[in-house]
Symmetry: C2
Subunit: 338 residues, 2 copies
Amino acid sequence: MSTIRDVAARAEVHPSTVSRVFSGNAQISDATRQRVLLAAQALNFQPNAIARSLSVRRTKTIGVIVPHVFDGYFADSFFPQLMAGLLEVSYARGYRLLVGGCNGYQDEHVQALDILASRQADGIVVTSSRLDVDTVGALQRHKTPLVLIGHPPAQHADVAWVDADNCAATRRVIGYLAGKGHRRIAYVGGDPDSSVVKERLEGYRAGMAAAGLPVSEEWIDYGYFAEDGGYQAVERTRRSASAAPTAYYAANDLMAIGILRGLRERGIDVPRQVALVGTNDSPEAAHLTPGLTSLRVPYRAIAAAAATLLIDAIEAGRRPAGQALLESCLIERESVES
Amino acid sequence: MSTIRDVAARAEVHPSTVSRVFSGNAQISDATRQRVLLAAQALNFQPNAIARSLSVRRTKTIGVIVPHVFDGYFADSFFPQLMAGLLEVSYARGYRLLVGGCNGYQDEHVQALDILASRQADGIVVTSSRLDVDTVGALQRHKTPLVLIGHPPAQHADVAWVDADNCAATRRVIGYLAGKGHRRIAYVGGDPDSSVVKERLEGYRAGMAAAGLPVSEEWIDYGYFAEDGGYQAVERTRRSASAAPTAYYAANDLMAIGILRGLRERGIDVPRQVALVGTNDSPEAAHLTPGLTSLRVPYRAIAAAAATLLIDAIEAGRRPAGQALLESCLIERESVES
DNA sequence: CTGAAAGCGCTTACAG
DNA sequence: CTGAAAGCGCTTACAG
């Protein structure tokens, strides 16, 4: 591959002149610009982006770490929507994504820190759902811009973030079910340690309280976002026949599908006898029998907002600031009787 | 951020010594290694990856361009599986992915060439489904390793590639349907210009011929991979009542869902009156009523194989070579009567 | 085992 | 508008 000096030699100018015609921002006479461009073309020259990055200290790249080893991570609609939102705005603003894998929660932070410390990206979006104070502190210690998808711990009011209205949305769903006459409503979360799941649980309790409904701890269960987890939750939440839930809210659709299967095996009709609401409005939701009422979370818009916040900050040479809470929307289908 | 010289100053050694302890491969006395490590820790030093990349001419990054503007690209299971396979092996081998968007077929090649020419990645995997001879030639002109997901044009026997057995698999599906007694079988492709769709059509024709079945051109239609495209294909393929197909093969599940809807609206029962086979075994396939028999394409394995081919070549300092054809597998459900 | 120097391929402040 | 020089932060062949 030819370099700027090869081109300079051929065009009989100084290398800095070649640099100037390629970096755009500089006054160059038309004549020499033509000479340089011709020489460049003849030599098939294109500037080396790495060398440029080192020189200008910008990589035009934004980092993101994905927990690629988790079962079902690539089956859920979260990942593609995240990438869609990130790519959409990155592309529009001339950036690319530096995507790294990680083999677990701990490694997720290790990898994110590595990208920051090695300055391979101009900014990073972190999607971890279990950030503790120390980790956020460590991430913030770098001057490289950072935006979170999800809530930071309360102590870090200074980090920029974008999130879905998990608590409020779940609360609305519970209110919706209570409005349909349900009094015993079950909550099936994913991983109890993840912040989304905690926020949704909070929304569940708030919704029950607002509707004046008592909560039995038997109705709260965790399916770890897996179909089988939902299936097992049916078993565990229906030990007491008299206090068996007449409605289920699941923190993703996969678990809702498992719940549906569990209920069906017990001869319980959905929605006649029991109502069911899932989350994420995944592709299968519309095609189930009955169609699954599901809480659609605007992941794509969230990712796009995060990327915008990040790139704005990068280009302004400051830390990202601000936060956004995007609204989820309940898609009504047949799994709740109207 | 501190640099190698700051650390050198504090540890009272030459910068090259600091470099040596961090780049691993060098004989360093334990004593000075400790001194350097301590100084580095005190200064929170981590080598700048960009500077290292420029120096060693390796970025530890592999490039991939995704057509992020296409409707449905992020809804299909192709994209997440592609990323899953790529990330799995990249991570294991210490690489990250440089993912760029593109706004169409033409731009896909432009972006890929840009990554190659600007040497931002050590290699690239190209997934375009409509590569012409010139484009492949242009891509190959760069010495940066390249592997294709999909077939290259015949003239480029020298490029490495990995693909699914599109033609053979479709042929098997047709044989399977013929074996069930179907004689009028329809083919609903995606985008007629894409090579996968062409290969499947070839398999369709071969399968029909092998079963001794005549083909009516009315049975060949294109739904552009969209649900509505499948729906419309029903209309177009059933103009002649006497020659109406009794079986449909669709090049993705989304179109199969559209076909199912179209048939249902006409009061045609699947699988009683008409059989239906989709492609990709997407999440919704199992949950349809009837369950959709679908050709599962091993995209994840294909991507993993491509990444392996690529990284092997990068590390050996040669061009990638070889090719692999991975087998698809028919997942039988209820949309074909047994 | 360690130092001094040159180099990776750009950019840009400084002159003129 | 263009040149000459220094610098971005590493690596590594060459000495010793």
